[in-house]
Symmetry: D2
Subunit: 327 residues, 4 copies
Amino acid sequence: MSKKTNDNKYWVGVDLGGTKMLVTLLDQSFQPCGRKRKKTRGQRGKEAGLSRMIDSIGETLEDGGVAPDQIAGIGVGCPGPLDLDSGIVLDMPNLGWKNTPVRERLEKAFGCPAVVMNDVDAGVYGEYRFGAARDVRCAIGVFPGTGIGGGCVYEGRVLRGKTGSCMEIGHVPVDPQGALCGCGQQGCLEAMASRLAISSAAVAAAYRGEAPNLLAAAGTDLSNIRSGALAASVKAGDKVVERILRDAARLIGWTCAGVVNMLAPDCLVLGGGLVEALPDLFREEVDRSVRARVMPAYRDAFEVVVAKLGDDATAVGAAAWAEHSQK
Amino acid sequence: MSKKTNDNKYWVGVDLGGTKMLVTLLDQSFQPCGRKRKKTRGQRGKEAGLSRMIDSIGETLEDGGVAPDQIAGIGVGCPGPLDLDSGIVLDMPNLGWKNTPVRERLEKAFGCPAVVMNDVDAGVYGEYRFGAARDVRCAIGVFPGTGIGGGCVYEGRVLRGKTGSCMEIGHVPVDPQGALCGCGQQGCLEAMASRLAISSAAVAAAYRGEAPNLLAAAGTDLSNIRSGALAASVKAGDKVVERILRDAARLIGWTCAGVVNMLAPDCLVLGGGLVEALPDLFREEVDRSVRARVMPAYRDAFEVVVAKLGDDATAVGAAAWAEHSQK
Amino acid sequence: MSKKTNDNKYWVGVDLGGTKMLVTLLDQSFQPCGRKRKKTRGQRGKEAGLSRMIDSIGETLEDGGVAPDQIAGIGVGCPGPLDLDSGIVLDMPNLGWKNTPVRERLEKAFGCPAVVMNDVDAGVYGEYRFGAARDVRCAIGVFPGTGIGGGCVYEGRVLRGKTGSCMEIGHVPVDPQGALCGCGQQGCLEAMASRLAISSAAVAAAYRGEAPNLLAAAGTDLSNIRSGALAASVKAGDKVVERILRDAARLIGWTCAGVVNMLAPDCLVLGGGLVEALPDLFREEVDRSVRARVMPAYRDAFEVVVAKLGDDATAVGAAAWAEHSQK
Amino acid sequence: MSKKTNDNKYWVGVDLGGTKMLVTLLDQSFQPCGRKRKKTRGQRGKEAGLSRMIDSIGETLEDGGVAPDQIAGIGVGCPGPLDLDSGIVLDMPNLGWKNTPVRERLEKAFGCPAVVMNDVDAGVYGEYRFGAARDVRCAIGVFPGTGIGGGCVYEGRVLRGKTGSCMEIGHVPVDPQGALCGCGQQGCLEAMASRLAISSAAVAAAYRGEAPNLLAAAGTDLSNIRSGALAASVKAGDKVVERILRDAARLIGWTCAGVVNMLAPDCLVLGGGLVEALPDLFREEVDRSVRARVMPAYRDAFEVVVAKLGDDATAVGAAAWAEHSQK
């Protein structure tokens, strides 16, 4: 952690998830100098949730010995649909939030500008500013988890939709006969290659007796088949689980080939818990398959890298985007 | 149950599964007149298993007041790979059987001819002789379970391979991007539309919160998502589970269209536990989709029916095939 | 040609196409001992066509010095839909034939039994009796031309539908996004891998400048891109045309994998003009792809061979089937 | 055409194709006030081609009574790969151009700034500035021709790659079993749904006798099956050709659904000769299919429109981009 002086300016980044929130305090060069992780306790409702977030920021500042007027800005990354311009969270069911004016409340509470953005966008922006895709002209992030999130930093700016975020790479259609997706469509990339899709295939393999280590360690309950369990199963020698993972990574690569052909990025950043648990497998397979499927002219025009910032990416990226928004 | 007299001839059918066996005693007109269901207790090994089967048949005869010399023949249906001509079970891992001379042992024990055949073939033959596909020129059976079994009765005979059974409709390739199959290939029909594949998709939907009734009733453990749980979930209103089932049935129909175009059957028989739990859903969707995808000349040339014999189908069919083999 | 004596019995085979007919005279061991090839002159109508066929047979006998009462039977292979039992050709638009009693007319004219059958079935039966699939338990023929014809000889008999032929392997659905098929469906095998589909892709490659030899030799008129032109283009070094052919052969193999999984044949016979023009390419690619996609248990259980009888296959096979039908 | 006065400033746009070039003179408000269309005569080589372009611009000015010093800028749209920053055409084989410094030569010849850009990008930018996608936040253009070109105007700027253009929507992978593409990959959108792919399928239908009007009017030579012939065939009642076109439009829509999910455009602009010949068919099918396949949240968030500027789009767009580049 970097040293602090009174004349420093600080930034605050918040990674607000359905069940947990992470508040990170950052110094002028965006080095973390304080962190607080809390459960969201969403069942207590909207006002309680807003207060909890504000209190957590307050405590983080206090712990770090930073006064509110030393804060230059606050950035919040969260998964729900947003109105980016007003900083309103349109819907976060886990928190009981509908049309919640997060930006306004934070600005009132701390007297500094705040931004609210998509968490994956924040993560990709974090990697662009401080991580694996530093300062490239065009970076595209792909984060397989329960779904598959995507984000794009193009010439220094996060690509966005009219009112909310965009780059829903998880919902690119890849297979007209494919699995049902959470979005209601069939054969979206994330219905076939997200961590959840992988776990669902792995649990079927365990059930058939083809993944003995996974079966022994995690049984056939899908809720137990998380990134760590998958990585451990591969390490223990479950060849079928490894193949399921590689097939999924290959499908991600196949889809990314279309994205590369359209956006000509310099860098594809793979991130999220599953990629962090199996970085080499994902980097290798995605790299190989995207390069094999891309237009020949683009074959050597981009890199495939693994995210570097880990759990900090969203909070750091959101804070950095708060800074960018003040320029 | 029909009345028995001493001059009657009887047949015995055995449905030998990995965990359970069903012995059925049948009169001259193949009406069941005795039944015994037992666990296989496979962990006790080959000799114990053979004895257990022979003892079960003996007890069934005794209960029915039938002497061994009244038995005209014995038919056994079982899932493992077989040598049909010699009646040797090549491999049933659950029973610890390798190259087990089932036919020879039964013939020795009861002094009558025996046949050993694939269990799905037996079920389809049963439906052909006494059930939903009675006496048609060509019947094709499709039974979705852990895999998807298939069988064909063509002009009175069960189609077969050189040494073993055939009609592996569950392993017809349907999707080059599809899920990994238990056979080691990718995108086989059964990897996408078997009860196991359906359960695996349903448990993912439950995990995402899209199948509240299934989640409440069965949780996220794949082992709990059996035919009854799926049917109950649909009945309780889980629209996403219904859609997963209909999508699977449609894919079965799409694949059957190719089979109809090749074998021009008069009758497609759908069977197995899941079809029995949701007969209308499966009949409707398969009927609609196979008719929509078949060559126009075949559109009205076949029926789609649901199996009628239920749990008896394999035992009855195997016994009837024993009779046919003596002609 | 074999020597003839008066006590010999002879057979006649007819390959009746839309524009040409081939009459072959065969001795007792089915060695050809006379041939006549004529245009059908279909525009002259049904009666003229029947007379033309009868006259051609008569001339072939005369040329061979064989009297009508030396003919043991006549077999006709033709492409249109048939009523096999009555030997009625239901529809051959090129000949203006509807419900034409070919069998009856031939039996009346020559006083011997006649059979009418599908031309591909006849070809496969010919290969089974005298060619590349001699005496195997189960042979499946795949003949890519304008469409893709299929046939199956199973334990000595040609598999058939209720009234007509079956084994429409060309209409197995392979790609839900695939090309429109002549049958009105989408993505049938023949819409993607027939000689016509290949030619259509090759002419597009020629148009784009990627097949210079084909372009120079045959231009961009689809009617000129026949088997010989494709083979010459490959030989001259048009890599793109070779790749189109190999992709098509691979798709045939992928589809055949499903057929092998269902019918467990001993032998896949590839035939037709295009295969004859490029036998090694087709045998290699189909062999490789079907073996790569079949269930592991079947991987080494069958052969892929190229038809041997060439233009004679249908006529010889139909005559041999006439013999078989008298047993 | 607008009136000109000496104090007006003018712009020049050039649409440089492989076989033709179109020079357009535009007034201050980008109204065309002069046009010249010439063959490129590419076989004469690089210097002759450059001179021919410069001479054509000169003649257009002269015809319009405009002096070179009244020209504010020149924009050139062309299909080959480019270095956008230097305005060098890297490769236009039809013209015999390799690394040709078009921008430098034009700036020298006319003493004003010039830009060189991709022709589809220019067309989409033209539609954004003056046509069907006027002033929207994000417009994506899809132009099916020999290939399928794409372009995106995002917040007033044309999205671009590191050195050249991007948005190769024609090379998004859509079908792993699909047709070979000109780029060397398999199953790209343009290999399945470009005008060339459509023509190739239509000519096969004509060959099979399923498109009698097309056959009568254009025969089976692919070179004759251009946009007008396809439109006339549909109008004359060739149902199969109409279906091929609708299937292609539907596949374009399916692919655009992924693009909408990623870039959240306000407007999809369909253009090019084939769309202009059948505007309702394409607009309807693409609209329906993209809306049916997009994420529910985006279903009503965009329009599908047909380009309005016709043949002028590229020249006008390139000139307007020249203006934008001077800001």
